[in-house]
């Protein structure tokens, strides 16, 4: 292993976040490896989204620090693409799919510059990759939930970032889109991009993810999914209630 690949794509140390007096994250240490597909899992309210948002500077942390590819976030912003939860944006906004994807080129090109032919090629390729080329001219509100998520992922693809961070990318979308987008993410990972996502479906995590972080305000376990998602850890994260239910959801 070369030293460079030892540096995690995203690492957080002693990260604590509180909403009011209630801690949302408590002294979290995590290191998501480079070139891998990682998932953050945990029960509702366990701080999964907060972890991503705090790591990207979207919510203020009480303590802790974050490194992207070994550098402070401030210096590495161009190398990070972020796909927020779908309900955080205004879908009535007067913008087309293509314009959303073009937005992904501006962090690199500069916000006051026009896009070049090269940028447009990246935009076309990203639209093509998620199967949205035929819908590029549509206003985003006229898309289905799955198509909206595809547009968001296309924007992240167009950024050509080394680290892709997705917050619940598969929440509330159809099985077909989930399969298509998982394939896109797997291909990206195989091409060397680091992927970190919040995900709620433990079966998918077992099947496709290389690295998992099990969270419930504090870190329960981190490492290969098979070990992290062991019954004992899941009981500690999700509580005994699931354990006594006979056939708990996680015990697939």
């Amino acid at each position: 292993m070369t030293p460079a690949s030892d540096i995690p794509a995203l690492s957080v140390r002693h990260l604590s976040v509180a909403y009011g007096v209630r801690p949302a994250l408590w002294d979290v240490d995590a290191a998501f490896p480079r070139g891998a597909m990682s998932a953050v899992v945990g029960p509702n309210g366990s701080g999964k989204s907060t972890l991503l948002k705090a790591a990207l500077g979207l919510v203020a942390a009480e303590s802790g620090h974050v490194l992207v590819m070994g550098r402070p976030l401030r210096e590495a912003r161009r190398d990070v693409a972020y796909v927020p939860q779908r309900d955080t944006v205004d879908w009535d906004f007067p913008i087309t799919v293509r314009e959303v994807v073009e937005m992904g080129r501006h962090p690199r090109r500069g916000w006051f510059r026009r896009l070049t032919g090269e940028d447009r090629e990246h935009v076309d390729a990203a639209l093509e990759r998620v199967g949205m080329r035929g819908l590029a001219g549509r206003q985003i509100g006229r898309l289905s939930g799955g198509q909206r998520q595809r547009a968001f992922v296309a924007r992240a693809l167009a950024q050509r970032a080394d680290l892709l961070v997705l917050d619940e990318p598969f929440a509330g979308i159809d099985a077909r889109t989930e399969a298509a987008l998982l394939e896109v993410l797997t291909d990206l990972r195989d091409a060397g991009t680091s992927v970190v996502m919040v995900h709620h479906d433990l079966q998918t995590v077992r099947d496709v993810v290389d690295h998992a972080l099990l969270l419930n305000v504090r870190v329960i376990a981190e490492g290969p999914p098979a070990e992290v998602l062991a019954p004992e850890n899941l009981r500690r994260a999700y509580g005994e209630v699931a354990g006594v239910a006979g056939a708990p959801a996680w015990a697939v």
Partner: protein
């Protein structure tokens, strides 16, 4: 400026008013879009009311009616109001709408008290109070318009230059922040632009109704376009036309300009909301009625086909009985089918399908099968892109190849 006024084919005082109203309309229309799209239009309302005490304080401080000083006072007070709104939101547990309400009422009260006090002192200034409350078009001077023109040019230039980052911020704040855009600074900039637009409009439209000039042009323009740059241009144009028409009408009728301009603006919004091609209320209503009627006819068509397979051609009453549809619906559907040549009645009132009707019934049945098959097997169809079918025309929207594969997945020729 004088040259420009000379170009307007109106008497000089009217030309000054028209130019001022156009500047106000363009700026309020364009900048108002930013407020509406960020769902902060009521902040604009609070800022307009907040500007009032600023005008009074500037008058007391300078002792003269220098328009630039009064506008500067209005701008300062507006910004203080904006800061207070943000401060109350962050520092207390009050929700944003309550913070806006608090700032609006406190500043407005302060403004009224100060202006009333001034009016008592200066006697002749009584008209000044009403002017800033309800606006006044007449009496706008060329030097006022000069100040307005400079402010409008700066505001529009800033919007044009910052369009991309501002769009990113308004559409997806999280993305903008992660991309390294200074979102706080941009938000402050948008607020400052709002203050500038308000300051330009304060004298003509008045504090109470200024918010309408921020919202109405955007609301009307949004009915006509789905593109941000086009929206801004259309909103600016709408604002300008509405401002000029309203201000000139108010000047003629000796009415306060604010209410007249706002009524004209509301008429523009009503027109756009009702009649905008493709998405006005009238169009949507017509589309809904047509879709329902089409669906009713198609349902009756399929029922009739099924009934004819089962036995003799049915009467309308028999068809209603076997299909479980209300008789009135069946009669309406049959009338539509007869009108389009898909079914006809014998002399004794028995209905049968025509040849086109039979073909249409088969197509409708296939489309239903295809839609059901899509819901069941769509994920395994392996479509190369993100297309999704139109339930009313699955074959047309997916293409023949995909439709045939769907039929195969659904179990071949099952009807």
């Amino acid at each position: 400026m004088g040259g420009l006024i000379g170009l307007i084919p109106l008497p000089y005082p009217d030309a000054v008013v028209a130019l001022g109203a156009a500047l106000l309309g363009i700026t309020a229309g364009v900048v108002g879009c930013l407020a509406v799209l960020s769902q902060r239009s009521l902040v604009g309302d609070a800022l307009a009311h907040s500007a009032l005490p600023g005008v009074a304080v500037a008058f007391i401080a300078t002792g003269a009616k220098d328009p630039a000083a009064l506008l500067a006072g209005a701008a300062c007070a507006g910004l203080v109001g904006a800061v207070l709104i943000v401060g109350i939101e962050r520092g207390t547990r009050l929700p944003p709408d309550a913070a806006i309400g608090v700032v609006l009422s406190v500043f407005f009260s302060l403004g009224i008290v100060l202006l009333t006090h001034l009016a008592h002192d200066a006697g002749a200034e009584q008209a000044g109070l009403e002017r800033y409350l309800f606006g006044q078009a007449a009496g706008l001077l060329e030097r006022d318009v000069q100040v307005m023109a400079v402010l409008a040019a700066v505001a529009l230039a800033v919007v044009a230059a910052g369009l991309r980052p501002i769009t990113a911020l308004l559409f997806d704040r999280g993305f903008a922040a992660v991309s390294g855009l200074p979102v706080r600074v941009l938000e402050l900039l948008v607020t400052a632009l709002l203050v500038v637009a308000i300051v330009i409009g304060l004298r003509t439209v008045g504090a109470i109704l200024m918010v309408a000039m921020l919202i109405a042009p955007c609301a009307a323009a949004r009915q006509l376009t789905d593109r941000m740059p086009v929206l801004l241009v259309l909103a600016g144009l709408t604002g300008a036309v509405v401002g000029v028409v309203g201000a000139l009408a108010a000047a003629r009728g000796q009415a306060p300009a604010g209410p007249v301009i706002v009524l004209v603006a509301s008429a523009a919004v009503a027109l756009a909301v009702l009649g905008a091609p493709g998405r006005g209320v009238l169009w949507t209503a017509r589309r809904t009625v047509r879709a329902r009627r089409r669906q009713r006819a198609e349902g009756v068509l399929v029922d009739l086909e099924t009934a004819m397979h089962a036995g003799a051609p049915p009467t309308a009453a028999e068809l209603a009985a076997v299909s479980g549809r209300p008789p009135a619906q069946v009669r309406g559907g049959l009338a539509d089918l007869a009108g389009s040549g898909r079914a006809r009645a014998d002399a004794d009132g028995r209905w049968r399908l025509t040849e086109t009707g039979a073909a249409a019934a088969h197509a409708a049945l296939e489309s239903r099968t295809l839609w059901a098959a899509w819901l069941e097997h769509g994920a395994h169809l392996g479509l190369p892109d993100a297309r999704e079918p139109d339930p009313r025309d699955v074959r047309g929207s997916l293409g023949d190849v995909a439709a045939d594969r769907l039929m195969a997945l659904a179990g071949g020729g099952r009807r």
